[in-house]
């Protein structure tokens, strides 16, 4: 007696109404022509991708009753990350990861580029906001017990994202190559070098030598620009897939109303 899993459908108010004979003819209104064109383009794509099923699965999935503003913290973190990506790409258009030019290129961004300091500031403070939001999102998950069955794996993906976020903030800290950046990185590397077992290999691998040099800067830049963002985007996708697949957890104090046997299920 396997139950067929149906894709969730749009709420009644949003469903397209079937056409009736007394409706005015469609083809002569420009508005209707545009609508027709849109519908047929969407249908063309859908016929070749079957994306509409995925869209329905994502957008019309039922959210359990009782969710509140705490449940927007994950979205908030993702928005902060998207902000980092966009502002980071803009900064990368002007930034030069070499010991001789890094600082000057940052000065150029701040002083010459249109809205340069604003974009730089959004990247710098966006990282702080992202770290705060990651911790708030994690605290919500912890205190609501949302990491428990069946969402254990999503918690682990989330902790990996936390670690990657912190690596981002360490590697990004060096890039402006001012005094603060340089000396904080020297201390961080010495701490890394002090680690048991892997310690002696940390500075050569990360710095490209015993000291902070151009090689260090370009390594940190590649790590900060390509490796970690790629990993973060991949893991956020996995995180979101699991959220949608398993469903958003309900607050632990919310109990289901008593229902009879005629319960209609949106999704199983």
């Amino acid at each position: 007696m396997a139950k067929i899993k149906l894709l969730p459908s749009p709420p009644a108010g949003l469903r397209p109404q079937p056409k009736r004979p007394e409706d005015p003819a469609v083809d002569d209104q420009p508005k209707d022509l545009v609508k027709e064109a849109g519908v047929s383009a969407a249908a063309w794509v859908d016929e070749r991708t079957s994306l509409s099923g995925t869209v329905r699965w994502v957008m019309f999935r039922p959210i359990p009753k009782g969710t509140n503003w705490f449940y927007t913290l994950g979205t908030a973190t993702m928005v902060a990350f998207i902000n980092q990506v966009i502002t980071g790409v803009v900064l990368a258009m002007y930034y030069d990861p070499s010991v001789t030019h890094a600082y000057e290129s940052m000065k150029y961004i701040n002083n010459e580029v249109f809205l340069g300091e604003f974009i730089h500031g959004m990247h710098r403070w966006g990282s702080t906001v992202m770290v705060i939001l990651v911790f708030l999102h994690m605290a919500r998950t912890f205190f609501f017990g949302a990491y428990k069955y069946p969402r254990e794996l999503n918690w682990i993906v989330g902790v990996a994202l936390l670690v990657l976020t912190l690596v981002m903030s360490v590697t990004g800290y060096l890039l402006p190559f001012d005094q603060r950046a340089y000396w904080a990185s020297v201390v961080a590397m010495n701490i890394g070098g002090n680690a048991p077992l892997l310690g002696p290999f940390t500075p050569p691998a990360a710095l490209g030598g015993p000291d902070v040099t151009t090689v260090t800067l370009s390594r940190f830049y590649a790590i900060h620009m390509m490796i970690i963002p790629g990993l973060i985007i991949g893991l956020i996708s996995a995180h979101l897939y699991l959220v949608i697949k398993l469903g958003t957890s309900a607050p632990p104090w919310v109990r289901a109303d008593k229902v009879g046997g005629d319960l209609k299920e949106h999704d199983a």
Binding site: T72, V79, F118, M122, V212, A250
Partner: protein
């Protein structure tokens, strides 16, 4: 959780979902508002605080006392309060590693099927304690004075010698302050006690030459100061070698 508890949860959850609302358009509105709030906050921070730069990085004149980003203050403070040298490696690497392992493995050792924070007193208390400890350590780390001052009077032998000797001593004192030795070492009334050893009486333990050698080839995590050049290294080594017990170098 055993099989019965799992099934119970899934049953309850599917009822909750059936009694809830579709994500679009009911829940997505809140997410949209939150997105605007986040972007607005970041823009406001950028306008108010900007993206100022300090001076260009310079490996030779080490006048800069390194401070981590504020959300690492708690780790920084932990590093400062843990003094025994044997424990320093534990504090710098061990504590973060253990904390991360505890976070990763949380769903595996917390096997309590209960989810309500008030019905899992151990987990909730531990969570509040960790957050409280991080806030407290962050506060201490933020309050810590910038360790770039060394207030010392020249010991009698140097003071009476005067001239070039006194000048050399004074130059060494300033270099020690500028090089942020106080970030990791206690020197008289200044500096942080740890992770490095106290330097207040370093002259008792090491001769000038040995101090100079340590500055060039230190044991990790201390950075090498070889870049300062032989002259400045001489000044620093001379200054430090005069710091002895009972020499009046205290202050």
């Amino acid at each position: 959780m055993n099989q019965r508890e799992k099934e119970e949860y899934l049953r309850e959850y599917s009822v909750l979902k059936a009694q809830g609302k579709p994500f679009f358009p009911y829940i997505i509105v809140k997410d949209g508002v939150m997105m605007i709030v986040v972007i607005g906050t970041i823009m406001l921070l950028s306008i108010v605080l900007g993206g100022e730069l300090t001076a260009k990085a310079d490996a030779t004149t080490t006048t800069y006392a390194p401070r981590p980003e504020w959300y690492y203050f708690w780790a920084f403070e932990l590093l400062r309060v843990i003094k025994p040298p044997a424990l320093v490696s534990l504090a710098t690497v061990g504590v973060p590693t253990i904390a991360m392992l505890l976070l990763f493995l949380l769903p595996f050792y917390d096997r309590n099927p209960e989810r309500h924070p008030l019905r899992r007193p151990v987990a909730t208390t531990a969570g509040i304690f960790v957050i409280g400890a991080m806030f407290f350590l962050s506060y201490l780390g933020a309050e810590a004075e910038p360790p770039s001052r060394v207030d010392m009077e020249p010991p009698p032998s140097v003071a009476t010698a005067g001239g070039a000797t006194l000048e050399k001593w004074e130059a060494g004192r300033k270099l020690v302050a500028q090089s942020s030795c106080g970030g990791c070492h206690k020197i008289g009334a200044n500096g942080n006690d740890g992770p490095g050893p106290q330097l207040t009486q370093i002259g008792d333990r090491l001769k000038q030459g040995a101090i100079r050698e340590t500055l060039i080839n230190p044991t990790l995590p201390m950075p090498s100061f070889a870049k300062l050049g032989p002259e400045k290294l001489d000044d620093i080594a001379f200054f430090l070698s005069t710091l002895k017990s009972g020499s009046g170098g205290g202050h």
